[in-house]
Amino acid sequence: MTVLVPSQPLTESEVAAIKRDFPILQQEVDGQPLAYLDSGATAERPRQVLDAERRFLEQDNAAVHRGAHTLAGRSTDAYEDARATLAGFVGAASPAEVVWTANATDAINLVAYGIANASRGRGGAAAERFRIGPGDEVLVTEAEHHANLVPWQELAALTGATLRWVPVADDGTWTAEDATSLITDRTRVVAFAHVSNVTGMVAPVAEVVAAAHEHGALVVLDACQSAPHRALDVRQLGVDFAAFSGHKMLGPNGIGVLWGRSELLDALPPFRTGGSMITTVTMESSDFMPAPERFEAGTQPVSQAVALAEAVRYLQGIGMERVRAHEEHLAQRMLDGLAAVPGIRVVGPPAGVPRSGLVSFDVDGVHAHDVSQYLDAQGIAVRSGHHCAQPLHRRLGLVATSRASTYVYTTEEDVDRFLAAVGEVRGYFGAAS
Protein backbone atom coordinates (compact mmCIF):
# COMPACT_ATOMS: atom_id res chain seq x y z
CA MET A 1 0.00 0.00 0.00
CA THR A 2 1.26 3.44 -0.91
CA VAL A 3 0.99 6.08 1.74
CA LEU A 4 0.65 9.51 0.17
CA VAL A 5 2.54 12.18 2.04
CA PRO A 6 1.47 15.73 1.24
CA SER A 7 4.26 17.44 -0.64
CA GLN A 8 6.12 20.26 1.01
CA PRO A 9 6.11 23.76 -0.43
CA LEU A 10 9.44 24.89 -1.88
CA THR A 11 11.85 26.36 0.62
CA GLU A 12 12.93 29.99 0.37
CA SER A 13 16.37 29.01 -0.92
CA GLU A 14 14.87 26.64 -3.48
CA VAL A 15 12.64 29.40 -4.86
CA ALA A 16 15.57 31.80 -4.90
CA ALA A 17 17.60 29.29 -6.92
CA ILE A 18 14.72 28.76 -9.35
CA LYS A 19 14.24 32.50 -9.77
CA ARG A 20 17.90 32.88 -10.73
CA ASP A 21 17.18 30.66 -13.75
CA PHE A 22 14.85 33.31 -15.19
CA PRO A 23 16.82 36.17 -16.76
CA ILE A 24 13.72 38.31 -17.25
CA LEU A 25 12.98 38.32 -13.52
CA GLN A 26 16.34 39.89 -12.70
CA GLN A 27 15.24 43.37 -13.84
CA GLU A 28 13.81 46.46 -12.21
CA VAL A 29 10.63 48.25 -13.30
CA ASP A 30 10.49 51.93 -12.40
CA GLY A 31 13.45 51.42 -10.10
CA GLN A 32 11.83 48.56 -8.19
CA PRO A 33 12.55 44.84 -8.52
CA LEU A 34 10.03 43.15 -10.78
CA ALA A 35 7.43 41.07 -8.96
CA TYR A 36 5.83 39.14 -11.80
CA LEU A 37 2.38 38.01 -10.69
CA ASP A 38 0.86 37.44 -14.14
CA SER A 39 1.95 33.88 -14.87
CA GLY A 40 -1.68 32.87 -15.33
CA ALA A 41 -1.62 34.93 -18.54
CA THR A 42 1.83 33.91 -19.65
CA ALA A 43 4.73 32.39 -17.73
CA GLU A 44 8.33 33.46 -18.04
CA ARG A 45 10.97 31.10 -19.43
CA PRO A 46 14.07 29.79 -17.69
CA ARG A 47 17.51 29.91 -19.25
CA GLN A 48 17.33 26.14 -19.79
CA VAL A 49 14.31 26.49 -22.08
CA LEU A 50 15.78 29.44 -23.97
CA ASP A 51 19.08 27.57 -24.36
CA ALA A 52 17.39 24.39 -25.59
CA GLU A 53 15.57 26.27 -28.33
CA ARG A 54 18.70 28.14 -29.38
CA ARG A 55 20.81 24.95 -29.33
CA PHE A 56 18.27 23.19 -31.53
CA LEU A 57 18.14 26.10 -33.98
CA GLU A 58 21.93 26.38 -34.08
CA GLN A 59 22.57 22.68 -34.59
CA ASP A 60 19.62 20.58 -35.70
CA ASN A 61 16.91 22.70 -37.30
CA ALA A 62 15.21 21.33 -40.44
CA ALA A 63 11.73 20.47 -41.65
CA VAL A 64 10.44 17.34 -39.93
CA HIS A 65 9.04 14.17 -41.49
CA ARG A 66 10.41 14.95 -44.94
CA GLY A 67 13.82 14.94 -46.51
CA ALA A 68 16.54 12.36 -45.97
CA HIS A 69 19.44 14.53 -44.90
CA THR A 70 21.14 14.47 -41.53
CA LEU A 71 19.47 17.54 -40.06
CA ALA A 72 16.04 16.33 -41.20
CA GLY A 73 16.67 13.16 -39.23
CA ARG A 74 17.88 14.97 -36.13
CA SER A 75 15.05 17.48 -36.08
CA THR A 76 12.47 14.74 -36.64
CA ASP A 77 13.94 12.81 -33.71
CA ALA A 78 13.93 15.90 -31.50
CA TYR A 79 10.36 16.73 -32.48
CA GLU A 80 9.10 13.22 -31.74
CA ASP A 81 11.15 12.97 -28.54
CA ALA A 82 9.43 16.16 -27.43
CA ARG A 83 6.06 14.59 -28.15
CA ALA A 84 7.01 11.58 -26.04
CA THR A 85 8.10 13.87 -23.20
CA LEU A 86 4.74 15.63 -23.24
CA ALA A 87 2.93 12.28 -23.43
CA GLY A 88 4.73 11.15 -20.30
CA PHE A 89 4.01 14.44 -18.57
CA VAL A 90 0.23 14.08 -18.90
CA GLY A 91 0.01 10.31 -18.59
CA ALA A 92 -0.95 9.61 -22.20
CA ALA A 93 -1.18 5.96 -23.32
CA SER A 94 1.21 6.71 -26.18
CA PRO A 95 2.95 9.67 -27.85
CA ALA A 96 0.43 9.39 -30.70
CA GLU A 97 -2.18 10.75 -28.32
CA VAL A 98 -0.35 14.08 -28.21
CA VAL A 99 -1.25 16.48 -31.03
CA TRP A 100 0.81 19.65 -31.40
CA THR A 101 -1.33 22.73 -31.82
CA ALA A 102 -0.62 26.47 -31.79
CA ASN A 103 -2.06 26.82 -28.28
CA ALA A 104 -5.03 25.64 -26.23
CA THR A 105 -7.48 27.81 -28.18
CA ASP A 106 -6.32 26.10 -31.34
CA ALA A 107 -6.63 22.68 -29.67
CA ILE A 108 -10.23 23.29 -28.57
CA ASN A 109 -11.11 24.58 -32.03
CA LEU A 110 -9.59 21.41 -33.48
CA VAL A 111 -12.06 19.31 -31.48
CA ALA A 112 -15.06 21.60 -32.04
CA TYR A 113 -14.53 21.90 -35.81
CA GLY A 114 -13.67 18.19 -36.05
CA ILE A 115 -17.08 17.45 -34.54
CA ALA A 116 -18.66 20.00 -36.90
CA ASN A 117 -17.05 18.28 -39.88
CA ALA A 118 -18.18 14.86 -38.63
CA SER A 119 -21.68 16.29 -38.29
CA ARG A 120 -21.55 17.22 -41.99
CA GLY A 121 -20.67 13.64 -42.87
CA ARG A 122 -16.89 13.98 -43.10
CA GLY A 123 -14.85 11.14 -41.66
CA GLY A 124 -17.27 8.45 -42.78
CA ALA A 125 -18.59 5.71 -40.55
CA ALA A 126 -15.71 6.01 -38.09
CA ALA A 127 -16.71 9.60 -37.32
CA GLU A 128 -20.37 8.82 -36.80
CA ARG A 129 -19.89 8.78 -33.03
CA PHE A 130 -19.12 12.51 -33.20
CA ARG A 131 -22.16 13.58 -35.20
CA ILE A 132 -24.41 16.05 -33.46
CA GLY A 133 -27.41 18.04 -34.58
CA PRO A 134 -30.73 19.54 -33.49
CA GLY A 135 -31.89 18.06 -30.19
CA ASP A 136 -28.34 17.35 -29.05
CA GLU A 137 -26.67 19.46 -26.38
CA VAL A 138 -23.21 20.81 -25.71
CA LEU A 139 -22.65 21.64 -22.05
CA VAL A 140 -20.15 24.22 -20.78
CA THR A 141 -20.06 26.34 -17.62
CA GLU A 142 -20.68 30.02 -17.06
CA ALA A 143 -17.12 30.32 -15.75
CA GLU A 144 -15.34 29.35 -18.98
CA HIS A 145 -12.55 31.29 -20.63
CA HIS A 146 -13.76 32.49 -24.03
CA ALA A 147 -11.43 29.90 -25.61
CA ASN A 148 -13.60 27.15 -24.14
CA LEU A 149 -16.89 28.88 -24.86
CA VAL A 150 -16.86 30.58 -28.26
CA PRO A 151 -15.81 27.44 -30.23
CA TRP A 152 -18.75 25.57 -28.68
CA GLN A 153 -21.11 28.43 -29.53
CA GLU A 154 -19.88 28.11 -33.10
CA LEU A 155 -20.32 24.31 -33.06
CA ALA A 156 -23.90 24.72 -31.85
CA ALA A 157 -24.60 27.34 -34.53
CA LEU A 158 -23.09 25.15 -37.27
CA THR A 159 -24.90 21.95 -36.30
CA GLY A 160 -28.20 23.11 -34.81
CA ALA A 161 -27.27 21.59 -31.45
CA THR A 162 -28.16 23.50 -28.29
CA LEU A 163 -25.52 25.11 -26.09
CA ARG A 164 -26.28 24.82 -22.40
CA TRP A 165 -24.28 25.99 -19.44
CA VAL A 166 -23.81 25.22 -15.78
CA PRO A 167 -24.71 28.36 -13.84
CA VAL A 168 -22.23 29.58 -11.24
CA ALA A 169 -22.89 30.76 -7.69
CA ASP A 170 -22.32 34.30 -6.46
CA ASP A 171 -18.63 33.54 -5.86
CA GLY A 172 -18.17 32.22 -9.40
CA THR A 173 -17.94 28.55 -8.46
CA TRP A 174 -20.05 25.54 -9.43
CA THR A 175 -20.50 22.08 -7.94
CA ALA A 176 -20.55 18.55 -9.33
CA GLU A 177 -24.30 18.48 -8.65
CA ASP A 178 -24.78 21.72 -10.63
CA ALA A 179 -23.18 20.04 -13.63
CA THR A 180 -24.41 16.46 -13.39
CA SER A 181 -28.04 17.58 -13.02
CA LEU A 182 -27.77 19.04 -16.54
CA ILE A 183 -26.22 15.97 -18.16
CA THR A 184 -28.79 13.82 -19.96
CA ASP A 185 -28.93 11.49 -22.94
CA ARG A 186 -29.15 14.60 -25.12
CA THR A 187 -25.73 15.77 -23.88
CA ARG A 188 -23.02 14.95 -26.41
CA VAL A 189 -20.11 17.11 -25.29
CA VAL A 190 -19.21 18.47 -21.84
CA ALA A 191 -16.41 21.07 -21.86
CA PHE A 192 -15.01 22.82 -18.80
CA ALA A 193 -11.84 24.15 -17.25
CA HIS A 194 -9.91 21.87 -14.90
CA VAL A 195 -8.85 24.99 -12.98
CA SER A 196 -10.62 28.32 -13.53
CA ASN A 197 -8.40 31.14 -14.75
CA VAL A 198 -10.47 33.63 -12.76
CA THR A 199 -11.65 31.91 -9.57
CA GLY A 200 -8.89 29.33 -9.20
CA MET A 201 -11.59 26.74 -8.55
CA VAL A 202 -10.58 23.12 -9.14
CA ALA A 203 -13.36 21.36 -11.02
CA PRO A 204 -14.91 18.11 -9.76
CA VAL A 205 -13.63 16.24 -12.80
CA ALA A 206 -14.33 12.67 -11.66
CA GLU A 207 -18.02 13.29 -10.95
CA VAL A 208 -18.61 15.13 -14.22
CA VAL A 209 -16.75 12.49 -16.22
CA ALA A 210 -18.78 9.70 -14.61
CA ALA A 211 -22.09 11.40 -15.43
CA ALA A 212 -20.99 12.35 -18.95
CA HIS A 213 -19.82 8.85 -19.82
CA GLU A 214 -22.93 7.28 -18.32
CA HIS A 215 -24.88 9.27 -20.91
CA GLY A 216 -22.41 8.75 -23.75
CA ALA A 217 -21.08 12.31 -23.83
CA LEU A 218 -17.48 13.28 -24.59
CA VAL A 219 -15.54 15.29 -22.00
CA VAL A 220 -13.21 18.05 -23.17
CA LEU A 221 -10.97 19.47 -20.44
CA ASP A 222 -9.40 22.91 -20.66
CA ALA A 223 -6.18 22.18 -18.77
CA CYS A 224 -4.51 25.56 -19.38
CA GLN A 225 -4.38 26.43 -15.69
CA SER A 226 -3.79 22.91 -14.42
CA ALA A 227 -1.11 21.34 -16.63
CA PRO A 228 1.47 24.02 -15.67
CA HIS A 229 0.66 23.95 -11.97
CA ARG A 230 -0.20 20.43 -10.77
CA ALA A 231 0.35 16.80 -11.68
CA LEU A 232 -1.96 15.98 -14.57
CA ASP A 233 -2.90 12.41 -15.40
CA VAL A 234 -5.42 12.48 -18.22
CA ARG A 235 -6.20 8.78 -18.06
CA GLN A 236 -6.72 8.84 -14.32
CA LEU A 237 -9.02 11.86 -14.75
CA GLY A 238 -10.91 9.86 -17.36
CA VAL A 239 -11.51 12.74 -19.76
CA ASP A 240 -11.59 12.26 -23.53
CA PHE A 241 -9.68 15.34 -24.66
CA ALA A 242 -7.48 17.84 -22.83
CA ALA A 243 -5.96 21.09 -24.10
CA PHE A 244 -3.18 23.31 -22.80
CA SER A 245 -0.69 25.97 -23.94
CA GLY A 246 3.10 25.95 -23.85
CA HIS A 247 3.54 29.60 -22.96
CA LYS A 248 1.75 29.19 -19.63
CA MET A 249 4.17 26.44 -18.51
CA LEU A 250 7.62 27.99 -18.98
CA GLY A 251 7.58 27.17 -22.70
CA PRO A 252 7.32 29.15 -25.93
CA ASN A 253 4.38 30.85 -27.59
CA GLY A 254 2.99 29.20 -30.68
CA ILE A 255 2.94 25.68 -29.28
CA GLY A 256 0.17 23.89 -27.43
CA VAL A 257 -1.11 20.39 -26.93
CA LEU A 258 -4.30 18.54 -27.59
CA TRP A 259 -4.33 15.21 -25.83
CA GLY A 260 -7.04 12.78 -26.90
CA ARG A 261 -7.78 9.08 -26.58
CA SER A 262 -6.20 7.45 -29.61
CA GLU A 263 -9.41 5.76 -30.76
CA LEU A 264 -11.13 9.15 -30.75
CA LEU A 265 -8.29 11.04 -32.41
CA ASP A 266 -8.02 8.43 -35.17
CA ALA A 267 -11.74 8.81 -35.92
CA LEU A 268 -12.12 12.59 -35.63
CA PRO A 269 -12.04 14.33 -39.03
CA PRO A 270 -9.37 17.02 -39.34
CA PHE A 271 -10.39 20.65 -39.78
CA ARG A 272 -7.07 21.89 -41.15
CA THR A 273 -5.94 19.99 -44.20
CA GLY A 274 -2.95 20.17 -46.50
CA GLY A 275 0.60 18.89 -46.56
CA SER A 276 2.01 16.30 -44.14
CA MET A 277 -1.36 14.97 -42.99
CA ILE A 278 -2.23 12.79 -45.99
CA THR A 279 -1.49 9.29 -47.25
CA THR A 280 -2.67 9.34 -50.86
CA VAL A 281 -3.71 12.45 -52.77
CA THR A 282 -5.43 12.43 -56.14
CA MET A 283 -6.97 15.36 -57.96
CA GLU A 284 -10.38 14.30 -56.64
CA SER A 285 -9.77 13.48 -53.00
CA SER A 286 -7.31 12.48 -50.30
CA ASP A 287 -6.85 9.96 -47.53
CA PHE A 288 -5.64 11.16 -44.16
CA MET A 289 -2.97 9.87 -41.81
CA PRO A 290 -3.96 8.56 -38.40
CA ALA A 291 -3.43 10.81 -35.37
CA PRO A 292 -1.47 12.77 -34.52
CA GLU A 293 -0.27 13.62 -38.05
CA ARG A 294 -3.80 14.01 -39.43
CA PHE A 295 -4.14 17.16 -37.33
CA GLU A 296 -0.70 18.59 -38.06
CA ALA A 297 -1.05 19.99 -41.55
CA GLY A 298 1.69 22.25 -42.82
CA THR A 299 5.10 23.10 -41.44
CA GLN A 300 5.26 22.53 -37.71
CA PRO A 301 6.61 24.64 -34.82
CA VAL A 302 9.57 22.34 -34.20
CA SER A 303 11.89 24.48 -32.10
CA GLN A 304 8.90 25.41 -29.95
CA ALA A 305 8.12 21.73 -29.36
CA VAL A 306 11.74 21.07 -28.41
CA ALA A 307 11.71 24.01 -26.00
CA LEU A 308 8.38 22.97 -24.49
CA ALA A 309 9.81 19.52 -23.76
CA GLU A 310 12.69 21.24 -21.96
CA ALA A 311 10.16 23.26 -19.95
CA VAL A 312 8.46 20.01 -18.96
CA ARG A 313 11.78 18.53 -17.85
CA TYR A 314 12.42 21.68 -15.82
CA LEU A 315 9.05 21.31 -14.09
CA GLN A 316 9.60 17.58 -13.55
CA GLY A 317 12.93 18.41 -11.97
CA ILE A 318 11.08 20.42 -9.34
CA GLY A 319 8.23 17.92 -9.08
CA MET A 320 4.65 18.85 -9.91
CA GLU A 321 3.38 18.06 -6.42
CA ARG A 322 5.85 20.53 -4.98
CA VAL A 323 4.89 23.11 -7.62
CA ARG A 324 1.29 22.78 -6.52
CA ALA A 325 2.16 22.91 -2.81
CA HIS A 326 4.28 26.03 -3.34
CA GLU A 327 1.54 27.87 -5.22
CA GLU A 328 -1.20 26.86 -2.81
CA HIS A 329 0.94 28.14 0.03
CA LEU A 330 1.39 31.49 -1.74
CA ALA A 331 -2.31 31.69 -2.61
CA GLN A 332 -3.18 31.15 1.04
CA ARG A 333 -0.75 33.93 1.99
CA MET A 334 -2.48 36.22 -0.51
CA LEU A 335 -5.95 35.28 0.73
CA ASP A 336 -4.98 35.86 4.36
CA GLY A 337 -3.38 39.19 3.48
CA LEU A 338 -6.27 40.39 1.33
CA ALA A 339 -8.77 39.47 4.05
CA ALA A 340 -7.08 42.09 6.25
CA VAL A 341 -7.52 44.87 3.67
CA PRO A 342 -10.83 46.79 3.90
CA GLY A 343 -12.89 46.96 0.71
CA ILE A 344 -11.47 43.87 -1.00
CA ARG A 345 -13.79 41.27 -2.48
CA VAL A 346 -12.05 38.04 -3.47
CA VAL A 347 -13.91 35.92 -6.02
CA GLY A 348 -13.72 32.16 -6.01
CA PRO A 349 -14.01 29.31 -3.56
CA PRO A 350 -14.57 30.12 0.13
CA ALA A 351 -11.76 29.60 2.63
CA GLY A 352 -10.86 25.98 3.18
CA VAL A 353 -11.87 24.83 -0.31
CA PRO A 354 -8.94 23.84 -2.55
CA ARG A 355 -7.95 26.41 -5.15
CA SER A 356 -5.00 26.99 -7.37
CA GLY A 357 -2.29 29.61 -6.91
CA LEU A 358 -4.17 32.58 -8.31
CA VAL A 359 -6.44 35.13 -6.70
CA SER A 360 -8.83 37.50 -8.49
CA PHE A 361 -10.33 40.38 -6.56
CA ASP A 362 -12.28 43.61 -6.74
CA VAL A 363 -11.26 46.74 -4.88
CA ASP A 364 -14.31 48.72 -3.80
CA GLY A 365 -14.34 52.11 -5.49
CA VAL A 366 -11.25 51.52 -7.63
CA HIS A 367 -11.34 50.07 -11.12
CA ALA A 368 -9.12 47.05 -11.81
CA HIS A 369 -7.02 48.98 -14.34
CA ASP A 370 -6.25 51.62 -11.79
CA VAL A 371 -5.33 48.93 -9.26
CA SER A 372 -3.02 47.33 -11.78
CA GLN A 373 -1.49 50.68 -12.74
CA TYR A 374 -0.85 51.56 -9.10
CA LEU A 375 0.88 48.21 -8.53
CA ASP A 376 2.89 48.55 -11.73
CA ALA A 377 4.39 51.77 -10.43
CA GLN A 378 5.92 49.61 -7.66
CA GLY A 379 7.21 46.99 -10.10
CA ILE A 380 4.36 44.58 -9.39
CA ALA A 381 2.76 43.02 -12.49
CA VAL A 382 -0.82 41.76 -12.13
CA ARG A 383 -3.51 41.19 -14.70
CA SER A 384 -6.56 43.42 -14.87
CA GLY A 385 -9.66 43.06 -17.00
CA HIS A 386 -12.23 40.37 -17.68
CA HIS A 387 -9.54 37.70 -18.18
CA CYS A 388 -11.36 36.49 -21.31
CA ALA A 389 -14.34 35.51 -19.15
CA GLN A 390 -16.99 38.17 -19.80
CA PRO A 391 -20.02 36.01 -18.90
CA LEU A 392 -18.47 35.10 -15.55
CA HIS A 393 -17.71 38.74 -14.73
CA ARG A 394 -21.22 39.75 -15.74
CA ARG A 395 -22.56 37.09 -13.36
CA LEU A 396 -20.29 38.39 -10.60
CA GLY A 397 -21.62 41.90 -11.24
CA LEU A 398 -18.16 43.15 -12.16
CA VAL A 399 -16.79 44.62 -15.38
CA ALA A 400 -13.24 43.70 -14.47
CA THR A 401 -11.15 42.23 -11.70
CA SER A 402 -7.47 42.26 -10.79
CA ARG A 403 -5.69 38.92 -10.72
CA ALA A 404 -2.43 37.94 -9.06
CA SER A 405 -1.13 34.56 -10.18
CA THR A 406 1.90 32.67 -8.94
CA TYR A 407 4.38 30.18 -10.30
CA VAL A 408 7.55 28.34 -9.35
CA TYR A 409 9.61 31.54 -9.25
CA THR A 410 7.16 33.54 -7.12
CA THR A 411 8.59 34.42 -3.70
CA GLU A 412 6.89 35.25 -0.44
CA GLU A 413 8.46 38.68 -0.78
CA ASP A 414 6.66 39.16 -4.13
CA VAL A 415 3.39 38.33 -2.39
CA ASP A 416 4.10 40.58 0.59
CA ARG A 417 4.97 43.55 -1.64
CA PHE A 418 1.77 42.91 -3.56
CA LEU A 419 -0.27 42.87 -0.35
CA ALA A 420 1.33 46.06 0.94
CA ALA A 421 0.60 47.87 -2.34
CA VAL A 422 -3.02 46.66 -2.48
CA GLY A 423 -3.41 48.02 1.05
CA GLU A 424 -2.56 51.53 -0.24
CA VAL A 425 -4.74 51.57 -3.38
CA ARG A 426 -8.02 52.83 -1.97
CA GLY A 427 -6.29 55.64 -0.12
CA TYR A 428 -4.51 56.82 -3.26
CA PHE A 429 -7.70 56.93 -5.31
CA GLY A 430 -9.73 58.51 -2.52
CA ALA A 431 -11.98 55.49 -2.22
CA ALA A 432 -11.25 54.73 1.43
CA SER A 433 -13.05 57.79 2.81
Binding site: H369, Q373, G385, H393, V399, G430
Partner: protein, 147 residues
Protein backbone atom coordinates in the same frame (compact mmCIF):
# COMPACT_ATOMS: atom_id res chain seq x y z
CA UNK B 1 6.21 64.30 -9.72
CA UNK B 2 6.24 60.47 -9.88
CA UNK B 3 5.18 58.75 -13.10
CA UNK B 4 2.08 57.55 -11.30
CA UNK B 5 1.12 61.05 -10.14
CA UNK B 6 1.69 62.41 -13.67
CA UNK B 7 -0.81 59.82 -14.89
CA UNK B 8 -3.33 60.39 -12.14
CA UNK B 9 -3.38 64.20 -12.01
CA UNK B 10 -5.65 65.57 -9.31
CA UNK B 11 -8.03 66.86 -12.02
CA UNK B 12 -8.47 63.28 -13.21
CA UNK B 13 -8.99 61.85 -9.74
CA UNK B 14 -11.52 64.58 -8.96
CA UNK B 15 -13.48 64.09 -12.17
CA UNK B 16 -13.39 60.29 -11.73
CA UNK B 17 -15.21 60.76 -8.44
CA UNK B 18 -17.50 63.69 -9.31
CA UNK B 19 -18.42 62.40 -12.77
CA UNK B 20 -20.24 65.33 -14.42
CA UNK B 21 -22.89 64.18 -16.89
CA UNK B 22 -23.17 60.65 -15.52
CA UNK B 23 -26.94 60.53 -16.08
CA UNK B 24 -29.56 59.39 -18.54
CA UNK B 25 -30.25 62.26 -20.93
CA UNK B 26 -33.92 62.93 -21.72
CA UNK B 27 -34.87 63.30 -25.40
CA UNK B 28 -31.41 62.86 -26.93
CA UNK B 29 -30.90 63.57 -30.63
CA UNK B 30 -28.43 60.71 -30.78
CA UNK B 31 -26.66 58.17 -28.61
CA UNK B 32 -23.60 56.09 -29.29
CA UNK B 33 -22.17 53.05 -27.48
CA UNK B 34 -18.44 52.33 -27.42
CA UNK B 35 -16.58 49.45 -25.83
CA UNK B 36 -12.92 48.74 -25.42
CA UNK B 37 -12.97 44.97 -25.98
CA UNK B 38 -9.51 44.44 -24.53
CA UNK B 39 -10.41 45.77 -21.08
CA UNK B 40 -14.21 45.77 -21.02
CA UNK B 41 -14.63 49.50 -20.43
CA UNK B 42 -17.85 50.71 -21.98
CA UNK B 43 -19.82 53.93 -22.35
CA UNK B 44 -22.95 55.26 -23.99
CA UNK B 45 -22.82 58.98 -24.76
CA UNK B 46 -26.04 60.83 -25.60
CA UNK B 47 -26.26 64.32 -27.05
CA UNK B 48 -29.04 66.86 -27.40
CA UNK B 49 -28.71 69.90 -29.66
CA UNK B 50 -30.37 73.29 -29.25
CA UNK B 51 -33.51 73.36 -31.42
CA UNK B 52 -32.71 74.28 -35.03
CA UNK B 53 -29.03 74.59 -34.30
CA UNK B 54 -25.85 72.50 -34.25
CA UNK B 55 -24.98 73.84 -30.81
CA UNK B 56 -24.77 71.18 -28.09
CA UNK B 57 -27.38 71.76 -25.39
CA UNK B 58 -26.66 68.77 -23.20
CA UNK B 59 -24.53 65.65 -22.85
CA UNK B 60 -25.36 62.62 -20.77
CA UNK B 61 -23.45 59.40 -20.43
CA UNK B 62 -23.52 56.06 -18.69
CA UNK B 63 -20.46 53.95 -18.45
CA UNK B 64 -18.31 51.58 -16.52
CA UNK B 65 -14.58 51.82 -16.60
CA UNK B 66 -11.36 52.97 -15.02
CA UNK B 67 -10.73 56.39 -13.52
CA UNK B 68 -9.13 57.62 -16.76
CA UNK B 69 -12.13 56.76 -18.94
CA UNK B 70 -14.68 58.04 -16.42
CA UNK B 71 -12.79 61.29 -15.77
CA UNK B 72 -12.45 61.83 -19.51
CA UNK B 73 -16.23 61.48 -19.93
CA UNK B 74 -16.78 63.96 -17.10
CA UNK B 75 -14.45 66.54 -18.69
CA UNK B 76 -16.16 65.93 -22.04
CA UNK B 77 -19.48 66.91 -20.49
CA UNK B 78 -18.05 70.15 -19.10
CA UNK B 79 -16.35 71.11 -22.33
CA UNK B 80 -18.86 69.99 -24.97
CA UNK B 81 -21.94 71.81 -23.74
CA UNK B 82 -22.23 75.20 -25.48
CA UNK B 83 -19.95 74.29 -28.38
CA UNK B 84 -21.14 73.69 -31.90
CA UNK B 85 -20.64 70.25 -33.42
CA UNK B 86 -17.74 71.41 -35.65
CA UNK B 87 -16.12 73.03 -32.60
CA UNK B 88 -16.41 69.78 -30.61
CA UNK B 89 -15.00 67.75 -33.50
CA UNK B 90 -12.07 70.15 -33.72
CA UNK B 91 -11.45 69.86 -29.97
CA UNK B 92 -11.69 66.06 -30.19
CA UNK B 93 -9.01 66.06 -32.88
CA UNK B 94 -6.74 68.27 -30.76
CA UNK B 95 -7.29 65.91 -27.81
CA UNK B 96 -6.52 62.90 -30.02
CA UNK B 97 -3.26 64.45 -31.21
CA UNK B 98 -2.20 65.06 -27.61
CA UNK B 99 -3.18 61.53 -26.53
CA UNK B 100 -1.06 60.08 -29.33
CA UNK B 101 1.93 62.22 -28.44
CA UNK B 102 3.54 59.68 -26.09
CA UNK B 103 4.18 62.52 -23.69
CA UNK B 104 6.00 64.69 -26.24
CA UNK B 105 5.54 68.47 -26.52
CA UNK B 106 3.59 70.92 -24.40
CA UNK B 107 -0.19 70.77 -24.76
CA UNK B 108 -1.96 74.07 -25.53
CA UNK B 109 -3.92 74.87 -22.39
CA UNK B 110 -5.89 77.63 -24.16
CA UNK B 111 -7.37 75.01 -26.49
CA UNK B 112 -7.44 71.91 -24.30
CA UNK B 113 -8.25 73.48 -20.91
CA UNK B 114 -8.76 70.68 -18.33
CA UNK B 115 -7.81 68.07 -20.93
CA UNK B 116 -4.14 68.97 -20.45
CA UNK B 117 -4.37 66.85 -17.31
CA UNK B 118 -4.48 63.84 -19.64
CA UNK B 119 -1.11 64.67 -21.19
CA UNK B 120 0.50 62.27 -18.71
CA UNK B 121 -1.82 59.49 -19.86
CA UNK B 122 -0.33 59.69 -23.35
CA UNK B 123 2.90 58.24 -21.98
CA UNK B 124 1.05 55.09 -20.93
CA UNK B 125 0.26 53.44 -24.27
CA UNK B 126 -2.05 50.88 -22.65
CA UNK B 127 -4.25 53.66 -21.23
CA UNK B 128 -4.65 55.97 -24.25
CA UNK B 129 -7.81 54.19 -25.36
CA UNK B 130 -9.28 54.68 -21.88
CA UNK B 131 -8.84 58.42 -22.27
CA UNK B 132 -10.36 58.50 -25.74
CA UNK B 133 -13.35 56.22 -25.14
CA UNK B 134 -15.99 58.85 -24.29
CA UNK B 135 -14.72 61.22 -26.96
CA UNK B 136 -14.92 58.59 -29.68
CA UNK B 137 -18.49 57.85 -28.60
CA UNK B 138 -19.35 61.57 -28.54
CA UNK B 139 -17.81 62.07 -31.97
CA UNK B 140 -20.10 59.39 -33.41
CA UNK B 141 -23.14 60.71 -31.51
CA UNK B 142 -22.82 64.33 -32.68
CA UNK B 143 -22.19 63.21 -36.28
CA UNK B 144 -25.37 61.16 -36.13
CA UNK B 145 -27.30 64.03 -34.53
CA UNK B 146 -26.37 66.35 -37.39
CA UNK B 147 -26.55 63.79 -40.20
Amino acid sequence: MSALDSLYQQVILDHAKARHGDTVLADPDASHFERNPTCGDEITVSVRLEPGSDRIAAIGWQGDGCSISMASASVLTDMAVGRTVPELLELTEAFRVMMRSRGAGEPDEDVLEDLVAFHGVSKFVMRVKCGMLAWVAAEAAVREATA
